[in-house]
Each structure stands twice: as C-alpha cells, then as structure tokens.
Symmetry: C2
Subunit: 162 residues, 2 copies
DNA sequence: TATTGTTATACTCTATAACTATA
DNA sequence: TATAGTTATAGAGTATAACAATA
C-alpha cells in the first residue's frame, strides 16, 4: 500500500491551508466590501444555503465559532435582510435561521465577485487543477460540516420564507 | 464539459478554504501549545525552512502580514532560539532571518504533532485524496509565495528588485 | 437542572502612525 | 528622500461569564 507517506512529517497541509486561506481572505475583503459583506458573512451565507435552516448553536458548531459571536454575525445579516430568524415551534428557545431570497441573490453576487480573487490567488493552478482542488475541499468540508445534523428542525416545517 | 464550469458562480473555493483552515487552526492550537507554538509560528517556520533566509519585509509579504507584526512574531521565535536575526552585510538596515537547528527540530516535532489534527479535519478524504490535496495546495502556495524572490540575501547581490 | 440566545467584557490579532538607523 | 525595522496604539475578532426564557 502507498499509505505510509501520510505519516511523513513533511507532508503537512495545515500550514499551507492557513497560508492560502489568509491570502484569499485578505484580497476578498476589498472585493466584498462594496456588497456590504465580509469574508465571514460569505462563509455563513454559504453554509446556510448548502445546509438549510439551522439553529444558531448548530451554526456555531458548523462555523467553529463561539455561539456568542454568531449573534452579532446574524444581526449584521438580518439587518441587511439577507437572513431570517424565527422561533422554532418545536422548541421555543431556538431560533431557526434561514437564507432569504435576497440573501441567496447577494450570495450569488458575492461569489461572482470573488471569482477574480480566486483566479489570482490560485493562479499557479491550471483550470483543471483548480476544479480538482475545489472538489477535494468540498469533500473535506462535507465531512466537518456534519454539525448541521444536530438540528433537523421541526417536523412541522411551516417554512414560509417571507 | 469540465472547462467552462470555472466561471460558474457556484464553484467558489474561497469560503471552503476559509472554513477548513479555521477548523484546522483551532484544533492545532491545543496540540501546538505544549510545544510553545501557535499556528502562525508554524506557518512562519515552514516558510523560513522552505524559502531560506529572508528579510523581515520579504517575510511579511510572503505571510501576507503587516511588517510591524512580524517583529513580535520573530521576537517570540527568537526568544525560543528557533530563528536567528542578523544584520545583512550588504544592507545594514536589513535583518536576515534564518531558521536555527533548534528551529528545524521544533518544526519537525510540530508537524508530527499536527498530523493527528489533519487526519481528523481531513477525515472525509481518503489517504490518496489527502495527498492530492497536499500537492495542489503546495503548488498553489508556491505561486503566491514568490515574495521570497525579492531578497536573495547578501553576499551575492545588488538585488534591488522592485 | 439543562439549554438557547443575549449582553457585557477582557483578551488576542491586525493595521496605522511616528520614530531610528541606514541608504 | 526613501527604505528596514521598531514601538505605541486603536480597531476588529474572539472567547469567557452572567442573565432571561424555555425545556
């Protein structure tokens, strides 16, 4: 088996990931600011779109952020009407957080805006390799984002969506 | 078929990169703290090992950090005797920063320590895919890390690039 | 009693400005 | 004058603790 190389102390992706994410985030900021968004807003919106409605705590686990900071993050997004909070009927302590139509639209615009940044930061990769990278990251993230599982929401699902 | 998809507004690696790097960094902290290191120390040590000695400004560009913060970062590493600062003979304004033997050793230990974290965060990927991811990240980073080129150090040159 | 969301607050990270020493 | 490094400091990001509402 080709396995052993993974244990090598020289093939660590962690620092590389950190390095690239940092560059991407810094450049993204200037591109996103005209849209009133910050990189972390984009991550949150993406998770909400892909994972569906969740409680704030589930969102906190998925984003690996402290729950107390989710409050401010959602306040930002809700004040821009990109996200909607409503009480869960099944457990009135919970807020069910969902992307609004405006939120989906803004997210789409933002993704378009940062395409240029990606082309720049990932410029050393051929288009094919960039696609491979995307798929690998996607798969890796799907493994860590399982936190959404925690709250499948209420059975009722009277989700009206403004 | 696979070509044009890159322009699609739905294949954005940025938020994924951010997401995964964040999880990796958070988990790494607890694993690295026994070694007296923080994730950003690891990134700096890695760059210094792979790129050779550089000036502090070149390091700042490579790490995409403000030069003023490099000072504190290097103070940390130098107080642990993991890096060495010495004046450049060619330009006495510059410090040439290099990894010490202790630094290389500590870096190696740290890489070993975070292997477990990587296995956890990238657990959704098969070993083969993890290796592919590493190679892609490495290639992408080599493209953005060119900053090191700026200062090839003293004895040689009048390297007044840019 | 335990959990969800909220507020207040302290700690860390990062960037801006001013200073020095060299060029 | 311009550049490399340093210091001081203000702003943003993040975590900890205490509280109200609900389970």
């Amino acid at each position: 088996m080709p396995a052993a190389s993974l244990d090598s102390s020289e093939h660590r992706s962690g620092p590389l990931l950190d390095h690239l994410a940092r560059r991407m985030r810094l450049r993204s900021e200037s591109v996103l600011s005209p849209l009133g968004l910050r990189p972390r807003h984009l991550v949150a919106l993406t998770v909400l779109r892909d994972g569906g409605g969740t409680s704030q705590q589930a969102l906190a686990r998925t984003l690996a952020m402290d729950g107390t900071n989710i409050v401010g993050l959602l306040n930002d997004l809700e004040s821009m009407q990109l996200v909607q909070r409503r009480r869960s009927a099944a457990d009135r302590r919970r807020h069910v957080v969902e992307l609004t139509d405006d939120g989906a639209k803004r997210l789409s615009e933002a993704e378009c805006a940062i395409a240029a940044v990606e082309n720049e930061v990932l410029g050393a990769l051929e288009p094919d390799d960039r696609e491979k990278l995307y798929l690998l990251l996607r798969q890796a993230a799907s493994g860590t984002t399982v936190a959404c599982e925690a709250v499948i929401l209420e059975d009722t699902s009277p989700v009206d969506g403004r």
